[in-house]
């Protein structure tokens, strides 16, 4: 192969033309579509052997529990709230075929392009652009019932380089005293979010996170993310149809960390010894339609509050940090909705965040004198997400996000530093949506503007060239999301 051909064949090479990127992308999609049609059509009815765990156990199609997987509909929510039980006296594993094994895999091969402006390089400033084929992390889902009314989840998860951690691991005692209002969960789990980031439909670097779920005011030492799994114990309950739901969680103040640290991978700082509390409540109702019509669908609204603490200093020995001390409080409060108008789903969320002034001052232990101008960092914002379901196999997605810093940690800091505006569009097509496996083609475009800081996605060089100017980060993403 000549040098010229080698250069042109590498999408990372600067000589690779932009139009070649576009054409390659289009060609791949067309090829996927063309190849997939005859393959999918040739599949015999009832002979498909891809087996996600719950579908295999109960024989229900993906669409029974998911509006579009992995997002849950209300039937899926009730199933989850019941401890992964349909409550038909056949939930205990004693009723399963002995060959049944409750494991599913999920991974997404993809092509994506990330571009971030206002970046600093050794050779000067500019835009960092990367593109190419890639893999997502992998989930190895195991979940179900150990016995009637005792359920579990074990979710080892890896990043694309196969560094593993336990994303979720809990046991849950369901329907205590025969009541759906009393369920006790113990372990590491996602907070009881009305709008889940773990089961949402976006995959790109910039669009694949809810910005507000991970936001902290620039300079804050608070590592809390509302979208991150936490570790502790949760008491939760729900009505028979899960229209009314509540949860109260008591969690270690360590961002879900394990081994008395603040993360699930080695090398993290040690945790402190305090506990956080999360409260969540939601209520659903049915919106009636016009006379002679079948109604708009289910509408759900809810509120949440997280009250936590983080250390501002560490007990040390020989310079080694042993345990977090001098804890200072913070809280997040907000409300959210999941609203339907026939095939259109709208999901608004608003959150307000407030940290103790010490959490905004890196290196100033709680109790010592704060620098002049130090104040409690605050922020507010949220998002509005929209899904339009053409049918259970095709869904168009859109989301707008806005976060404003209400009060910087120092009153001399420009007020807009850290503000985020983001917009994401996408489309998911599920050519395979059997009761025993699923494939989704996912296309997304996401554009995020941050003021003076790196985007939450982590894209970019790591250093903003001009902290007074905006950083624009764009993602184009095409992935094949499959679940086995």
């Amino acid at each position: 192969m000549s040098e010229k051909i080698r250069e042109c064949a590498n999408p990372m090479n600067p000589k690779w033309s932009r139009w070649k990127t576009i054409l390659t992308c289009a060609f791949l999609l067309i090829a996927i579509a063309v190849c997939d049609v005859p393959r999918a059509s040739a599949l015999p009815r009832g002979k498909v052997m891809a087996i996600p765990a719950f579908a295999r156990k109960y024989g229900l199609p993906c669409s029974a529990c998911h509006t579009a997987w992995p997002e849950l509909n209300n039937f899926g929510q009730v199933f989850r709230d019941n401890g992964y039980q349909l409550m038909n006296d056949r939930d205990s594993p004693i009723w399963q075929n002995p060959s049944y094994f409750p494991i599913s895999f999920r991974i997404t091969p993809s092509w994506h392009r990330e571009s971030t402006t206002n970046q600093q390089f050794d050779t000067g400033n500019g835009t960092l652009t990367q593109a190419g084929f890639d893999l997502s992390g992998m989930d190895l889902w195991s979940a179900g019932t150990i016995y009637k009314n005792i359920s579990f989840v074990l979710l080892p998860s890896s990043d694309p380089t196969a560094v593993w951690h336990f994303e979720s691991a809990f046991i849950r005692f369901d329907n205590l005293k025969g009541s759906p209002w009393l369920n006790l969960r113990f372990g590491r789990f996602e907070l009881d979010n009305l709008i889940s980031e773990k089961r949402f439909l976006f995959l790109s670097n910039n669009g694949g996170i809810y910005q507000i779920y991970h936001f902290n005011v620039p300079g804050s030492i608070n590592n809390f993310g509302y979208g991150d799994n936490q570790i502790g114990v949760e008491l939760a309950g729900h009505s028979a149809n899960s229209y009314t739901r509540y949860s109260v969680s008591v969690l270690s103040s360590n961002e879900g960390g394990v081994n008395f640290t603040t993360d699930v991978v080695p090398g993290a700082p040690p945790s402190n010894r305090t506990y956080d509390v999360n409260l969540a409540f939601s209520q659903a109702f049915n919106a009636p339609g016009a006379p002679g019509e079948s109604g708009f669908g289910q509408e759900r609204i809810g509120a949440f509050a997280y009250i936590g603490q983080r250390p501002t200093n560490y007990l040390t020995e020989g310079g080694t940090q042993l345990v977090g001390i001098n804890n200072k409080p913070f809280y997040r409060i907000g409300f959210a909705g999941d609203l339907s108008y026939k095939n259109l789903e709208l999901m608004p969320l608003f959150m307000y965040g407030h940290d103790n002034p010490y959490l905004g001052q890196f290196g100033v232990p709680g109790g010592s004198t704060l620098p002049a101008g130090a104040q409690a960092p605050t922020f507010y914002g949220g998002f509005l997400e929209a899904h339009y379901y053409f049918n259970p196999q095709n869904v168009a997605l859109g989301r707008f996000e806005q976060i404003n810093v209400g009060q910087q940690a120092l009153n001399t800091t420009p007020g807009s530093l850290g503000n985020i505006t983001a917009v994401t569009f996408g489309y998911r097509w599920y050519p395979i949506m059997f009761s025993r496996g699923g494939v989704a083609l996912d296309g997304e475009f996401s554009r995020v503007r941050t003021i003076g800081v790196e985007p939450e996605s982590g894209d970019g060089s790591g250093t903003v060239a001009d902290p007074t100017a905006a950083v624009w980060s764009n993602s184009i993403y095409f992935g094949i999301d499959f679940d086995f």
Binding site: N88, A240, S242, N391, Q393, F445
Partner: protein, 302 residues
């Protein structure tokens, strides 16, 4: 790459996805896109009426596709892709034969019967409770289910069974119910102790020839068609059409039926109930005087 070209790329990809999605959805009708539903006759006009809620088949069609098609199939004949793995087999809606009815055996159920069945689900089967769907959605599904059989256009549902007030729960009532259990040969399927181990149990088949098991009173706390005494009364007065469980409406009088209900409750040893408590006290004192239920007690159980 400029933003404009980003947008062009994205638009191109989306259009390709959309086109391919539409093409494939049409092409794989026998896989997961139930196109036969679209051709179901009278789907647009069929309705259901449940306690003031009007269900619409057109809306129910989309719900059926999302929730039901995996078991009941794109043709409504109970041959969905999962059917081969399911025991008992999913209902064949084209026959319009339903187990749980408030109407006489052989007749169509009321809309409310179907609605209650969807709401309740069927314990010990793969059919879950669909209470998470809202009442309107369940009514829509009822309307759509009625499009699968021409019987719904030709016949009306049978007259709803009139259930008289329950008689007092007494030991006499239970003992008389026990006699009826022997006399009507319920034990042949359900077993002398209600363990679903009667001599005929292993030979039972449903109306399609599939093996079927009788109800095991000793482990179940709910019945296929409800959990109250009235539900139990209704079950053996209407029968479970499509299964070997016949209707006893022409065989026993209402008071006798209540006596049988009271005795059957005593077989539910895993479910604390008033009849069981009364029966256990009686048995403690008079147990040795009771004749065992079974072939040797043809003249009466007591």
């Amino acid at each position: 790459m400029t933003l404009k070209k980003f947008a062009v790329t994205f638009a191109l990809g989306s259009v390709t996805l959309l086109t391919a999605g539409a093409t494939t959805s049409t092409a794989q009708s026998h896989v997961n896109s139930p196109d036969p539903l679209l051709g179901t006759p009278s789907v647009a006009t069929e309705t259901s009426n449940i306690s003031g809620i009007t269900g619409h088949a057109e809306s129910g069609k989309h719900l059926y596709r999302r929730f039901c098609i995996g078991c009941h199939g794109p043709d409504g004949n109970g041959q969905g892709m999962n059917a081969q793995w399911i025991d008992p087999q999913p209902r064949d809606f084209t026959e319009a034969t339903f187990k749980c009815r408030s109407t006489p055996t052989g007749t169509l159920p009321t809309d409310e019967d179907l609605y209650n069945a969807i709401t309740r689900g069927f314990v010990t089967t793969n059919m879950p409770s669909w209470r998470p769907l809202n009442p309107q959605q369940r009514a829509d599904l009822v309307a759509f289910i009625k499009t699968w059989s021409p019987r719904w256009a030709k016949e009306k549902p049978g007259a709803t069974l009139n259930i008289p007030p329950e008689t007092p729960i007494t030991i006499e009532s239970i003992l008389h119910g026990r006699e009826l259990f022997q006399k009507l040969e319920c034990w042949k399927c359900h077993g002398p102790e209600g363990h679903a181990d009667g001599p005929s149990a292993a030979t039972l088949t449903d109306s399609k020839g599939n093996p079927i098991k009788p109800f095991n009173f000793s482990t179940g706390d709910r019945f296929m068609c409800g959990d109250s005494n009235r539900d139990l009364y209704r079950i053996f007065m209407t029968g479970l059409d499509g299964s070997p469980m016949p209707s006893f409406a022409d065989v026993i009088q209402p008071n006798d039926a209540w006596d049988l209900v009271h005795f059957l409750r005593t077989l539910q040893v895993a479910l604390p109930n008033q009849e069981l408590t009364l029966w256990q006290s009686y048995k403690a004192a008079h147990g040795k005087d009771l004749k065992p239920i079974g072939p040797d007690s043809a003249g009466g159980a007591q």
